[in-house]
């Protein structure tokens, strides 16, 4: 890697009792990128983030954040903003007071608080108590708190949880803006679809193991478009399958359809050949699988 790294971990593990919450993880996050950190619930995202922030001690391995070892979090945390496992604040304090507690603690100026609240669309609710906030407002206050130190690295753990599509869109736009101004963003989600479009890099976890880490475009390149062909008569399934094979494409019979790996250009060819063989197709649909499907294909699921 020639570009400097915001995060790199080597052989990082965390064991709780007999369970490996994270198992020998290796990955790197380059500076200045948005890196999506994706995995189903319980796959070890929060555990990894806690280790990166010095909150829990790894069972094995090592890691670096902004060039400093995670054994010395005081060296890099002043340049890091984080929301871990959802927003956590004092319910009886207002949004503003909650931010003030954290700003004072970090020796930061409190005069940026109102601006930050406006940035996350809480400008007029800063004086309401945290306990009166909706889930979306709580998430946004968590993001504002993470932005308090004007961080080089922003770590957000499932910031889109519980938000409606408009809210998710807003957060994506905000993260893009921050990344464009030079902040590295490490953002987790249990849904790849929620963050794939803004992520330059992806780290994917499954049951505590890193199963993909790299550029999003590399994953996109592995995406295989397929064509779903449905003959009028299910007797013709086998014949249609053979036609596709003879045209040099991999195909598979699934229930009453034939799934052919090929892009939309190929569908015209397939249609023509089927017609010549006396097969009538009731539908012929090219589809682009989601990254999620591609990814599960890659990992043999």
């Amino acid at each position: 890697m020639s570009s400097p790294l915001a995060i790199d971990v080597a052989d990082l593990s965390k064991k709780y009792g007999d369970r490996m919450a994270l198992s020998h993880a290796n990955f790197e996050v380059p500076m200045g990128s948005i890196c999506g950190f994706v995995g189903p619930n319980g796959s070890g995202k929060t555990t990894t983030i806690r280790m990166l922030l010095g909150l829990i001690t790894p069972s094995t391995g090592s890691g670096h954040v902004l060039g400093e070892s995670i054994t010395q979090p005081e060296k890099y945390l002043p340049r890091v903003g984080a929301m871990i496992e959802g927003p956590a604040f004092y319910p009886a304090l207002t949004g503003k007071q909650n931010l003030a507690v954290l700003a004072k603690l970090g020796g930061l100026a409190t005069d940026s608080i109102q601006k930050l609240l406006e940035l996350v669309d809480l400008g007029d609710r800063g004086d309401s108590k945290f306990k009166t906030y909706s889930l979306g407002m709580k998430q946004r206050l968590g993001i504002a708190a993470a932005l308090l130190p004007n961080p080089k690295l922003l770590v957000l753990d499932e910031p889109t949880n519980g938000l409606d599509p408009a809210g998710i869109h807003e957060i994506r736009t905000l993260l893009r803006k921050l990344a464009d101004s030079g902040t590295t963003v490490f953002v987790s989600s249990h849904l790849l679809s929620e963050i794939e479009m803004i992520s330059d890099y992806l780290v994917m976890l499954r049951q505590g193991k890193v199963i993909f880490s790299g550029k999003t475009i590399d994953l996109l390149a592995a995406q295989k478009p397929v064509i779903i062909a449905k003959p009028e008569n299910s007797k013709d399934l086998k014949k249609l399958f053979e036609i596709a094979n003879n045209l040099g494409k991999k195909a598979e019979i699934k229930d009453d359809i034939v799934e052919v790996i090929g892009d939309s250009d190929f569908s015209a060819k397939l249609n023509k050949s089927a017609f010549e063989a006396g097969i009538t197709l009731t539908s012929l649909t090219p589809i682009r699988p989601t990254l999620e499907d591609t990814f599960f294909e890659m990992t043999g699921d």
Partner: protein, 263 residues
Amino acid sequence: MINVIRAELTKLRRPSLSISTVVAVTFVTGLVTSLLFLLVDSPEGNGERGTRISREVLELSSGISISFKNSAGLLGIVALCIFAAQTAQEYTYGTLRNLLVRQPSRMKILVGKLIAMKMFAVVMVSISALLALSLSYIFAGVMDVSTAAWSTPDARSAVLRGFVNVLIATIGFGIFGMILGLLFRSPITAISIGVIWNLIIEGLLSVFISNLSKYFPGQLLSVVADGGTEKISYKYALLTSYSFLLAGLLIVAVLFKKRDVAN
């Protein structure tokens, strides 16, 4: 460190906590003072645990500070509850992880919290003192207790000594609460154990086994507030209670430093 204290004070200043603290301090001090004076002629007793404090004793120069000193035990319980909750809540709210990202030194967090707690205790004890003194004058008037000796220099130094001792005791109970809060990481558990221990276990056991109160931190702190009793000297009570608290604080400090923050 200053940063941690400023952050803590922001939390302690919140209206819901300040108001309920003032209400609790007023209630405790008011109750103890009014019982002391209004039941002065009652054979059932008017002081702590059914002891009798006679008219003659109240009329001494030290009489003005008795109700304040007698409030210390309950004032201490209030402090214990507040600081058990203040520390344990950081775990149940999950806010500790945010604090540690902004201030990774766990020892600075702990010491800053301790200092902020002491500042809070000064305010609590001052309110209680003002209230106890003014109520003493009012009830003395009602019950015809002579207050002639209360304005002598002796009385003033008794009040000052009382203030310092009650403050030391209240801070001791506050530390007790913080230890429980850090140990159990749940406000309800920490408060229940603290209250049951101080009001029930220590109280009951020391009634039945008279020597035991020499080893109970809560009892010893009450002795400190009183400035010593016939059985237990002030110096012994202060040294022993604070040794217990220091040992406890050391243990939870190590736990707090080493333990994973997974809440």
